[in-house]
Symmetry: C2
């Protein structure tokens, strides 16, 4: 019997509650499909930061880097730690450190879930967003400069390339804040190839998102690489879309989309909109994938500290993320069974959390899905 | 009787058709409310560019800068001119040249219009987005650099400040495209003050949009200035919102919003989403405002070259933009009358273009609204 060692970062707020349900369901699937999971608990998050001053240490990063998949709850509690510190210090840190260049976001309206959109059903909302996850305006290069002149040195080191900006900045403004986004040919190429391959396994339609009419430099390169890569996939239908238009089509014509490939920042925005049209953050899982390294699976929702300990929030996003994790580990049957069990729970509609109009608790939903996994098996 | 001289750039695709209706309605309002308009036609757009190689000349910019308000149709025709050239060379050029730092976008669902959102009515969708219009990632600073080292000099000159970046870039990447965004204290301050003042005239609630947890430098400054400005407006209720969450709330809780102040790029995205929830681009006007200089009013929709000459598209966004223009010129009564006439046309629901399920032509709708303006008057 296979045994997987999976590090777990439950994190802040409702993180521990939803992760508990995710583990429950994965373990149920393990019983049916014949595998064990050893959970390796890690303490990172707001409390750990307050207690130790540490976000995540280089040592811990190395340690976690020995595993293929991390299960993550949610990070952040603005009552304890200023916005940005844990996001940049733990979440983005891991995405970059493990070079998880693929952010996978299934946008799928499951039967039994209501979308806020008129006249749209589960047949209309079923696409995959592939968000580039390591470049663009997320690289953390920038600074604030006051009247006068200043030199700044900014460096970006990636597995696939490095770039150094030596800046000499002169301004008569009281203060400016600047931010540099970077798109590389290597970085664009690998995400395009992943997306085209994925489109081939689906309905063979890939839509690219950019704003190349305004940010002509970084997204001009993005477009060039898309166009070049497309030549190797003549069987895949393609189109370019400005990000502003994409938000409109998600609402008006979600059925247009099959696979959507997007730069990091626009991806952040449109995947939240995607979560909303599939019924809300409580139903939206995400994967941060490095096919050859350490990946990480998480619900899209935040830590919602207000709800901590109330056994109220929806664990389905986390459970679904658990299915993505199992799929990544090669347990495809178990992964499919979990998604089916989620669908069955939603279709029955009896055991639901408040966001879906129900009165059940977080743990009730987890138990119900675990039960269905076993019954199905 | 007052006479206003108003430069008109009808532009490409359906631009001339919708502008014709806008002029028709403004002239009708002039008859009723006692003013004349002298239209000064300007040729800028795709055909002009193809014929002359000119986007808009410094001389023309100076000439147009003598007037208080420009009426703009739409620019761009990708069959004739590559994406980006006219957008950057004419539209953004004017926004920057005239320092139109306020982009005003009423998001208002008018009675008689269907929103794609379930359970939302005109009572729920009625807010104003104030998009900063001259900074952020729209400043056009960036470059593409191939393996090796390169020096680049980028300069930004604004009425309110200047900044010079001398860059020394070294990379081992095959090619990178980089883009620099800039937020200044002066630029943030004036848009915050405008927005707080506007909130005071409305429901006294101002929501700020940013992504300060990731792009900590430019949006950190944005947040600081918002917080400082808020101290002078203790009667206005405020909140910060990450842009990804904003797209969700526009769909789920649009009634939450009163005035929304947003950096340029996020503003581009969320105002298109706003247009969609108010019934589509055919109904969404925009103003590019410099309170002390030359402003510009335009429909949000593109030039839709495919529809050119078909007398099909909805002119309401353009007519509404005309009302914003009149309001800006001080003709508040006439402006209000036009908006009321638009509402009456939509409520009656008899003369509608195809996007609203009707069969009327562009010019029918313009004539109907002009007629109502006169009847009302
Ligand atoms: C928490 C935040 C840093 C993060 C992001 O912006 O990527 C989140 O919004 C996401 O989409 O995973
Ligand atoms: C045409 C384009 C350059 C423009 C923008 O990005 O600002 C448009 O989308 C808008 O919102 O006015």
């Amino acid at each position: 019997m296979a045994t997987y060692k999976v590090p777990v970062i439950s994190g802040d707020g409702i993180g521990p509650e939803v992760i508990a349900e995710g583990k429950k369901v994965i373990e149920a699937a393990g019983e049916v499909y014949g595998f064990n999971v050893d959970w390796i608990h890690m303490p990172f998050g707001a409390d750990h930061y307050v207690a130790t001053g540490e976000t995540i240490s280089e040592e811990s990063l190395k340690e976690l880097g020995r595993y293929r998949a991390i299960y993550l709850g949610s990070l952040g509690d603005e009552r304890k730690v200023k916005a940005g510190i844990l996001e940049k210090g733990v979440l983005l840190k891991m995405r970059f450190y493990y070079d998880q260049y693929i952010n996978l976001r299934p946008v799928k309206l499951l039967d039994g879930v209501e979308t806020p959109l008129k006249n749209k059903t589960s047949k209309d909302i079923d696409f995959m967003v592939v968000r580039e996850n390591t470049e663009d305006f997320y690289v953390g290069l920038g600074g604030r400069v006051k009247k006068g002149a200043e030199k700044q040195e900014l460096e970006l080191k990636r597995d696939i390339y490095a770039v150094k900006f030596n800046l000499d900045i002169e301004t008569d403004s009281d203060e400016i804040g600047y931010q540099i986004g970077v798109v590389s040919r290597e970085g664009a190429k690998r995400i395009m190839e992943y997306s085209f391959d994925l489109a081939r396994q689906r309905r063979k339609h890939l839509s690219s998102v950019d704003k190349a009419n305004v940010m002509t430099e970084c997204y001009g390169l993005w477009r060039d690489v898309f166009t070049e890569t497309a030549k190797n996939y003549p069987d895949v239908q393609t189109d370019f879309n400005f990000v502003d238009a994409v938000t409109m089509w998600f609402v008006k014509n979600p059925e247009f989309f099959d696979v959507v490939v997007t730069p990091n920042m626009f991806g952040d925005i449109i995947t939240d909109l995607g979560a909303m049209i599939q019924g809300g953050l409580g139903l939206a899982p995400g994967g941060n994938v490095n096919p050859k390294g350490t990946s990480m699976f998480e619900p899209m929702g935040g830590s919602a500290p207000k709800y901590k300990g109330l056994n109220k929030v929806n664990p389905i996003a986390t459970i679904w993320a658990g299915a993505l994790l199992l799929d990544h580990l090669g347990e495809k049957q178990a992964a499919d069974a979990i998604v089916k069990a989620i669908e069955a729970n939603l279709k029955q509609g009896k055991v639901r959390t408040y966001d879906l109009g129900g009165t059940a608790g977080t743990s009730d939903v987890g138990s119900d899905i675990a039960r269905i996994v076993k019954v199905q098996g």
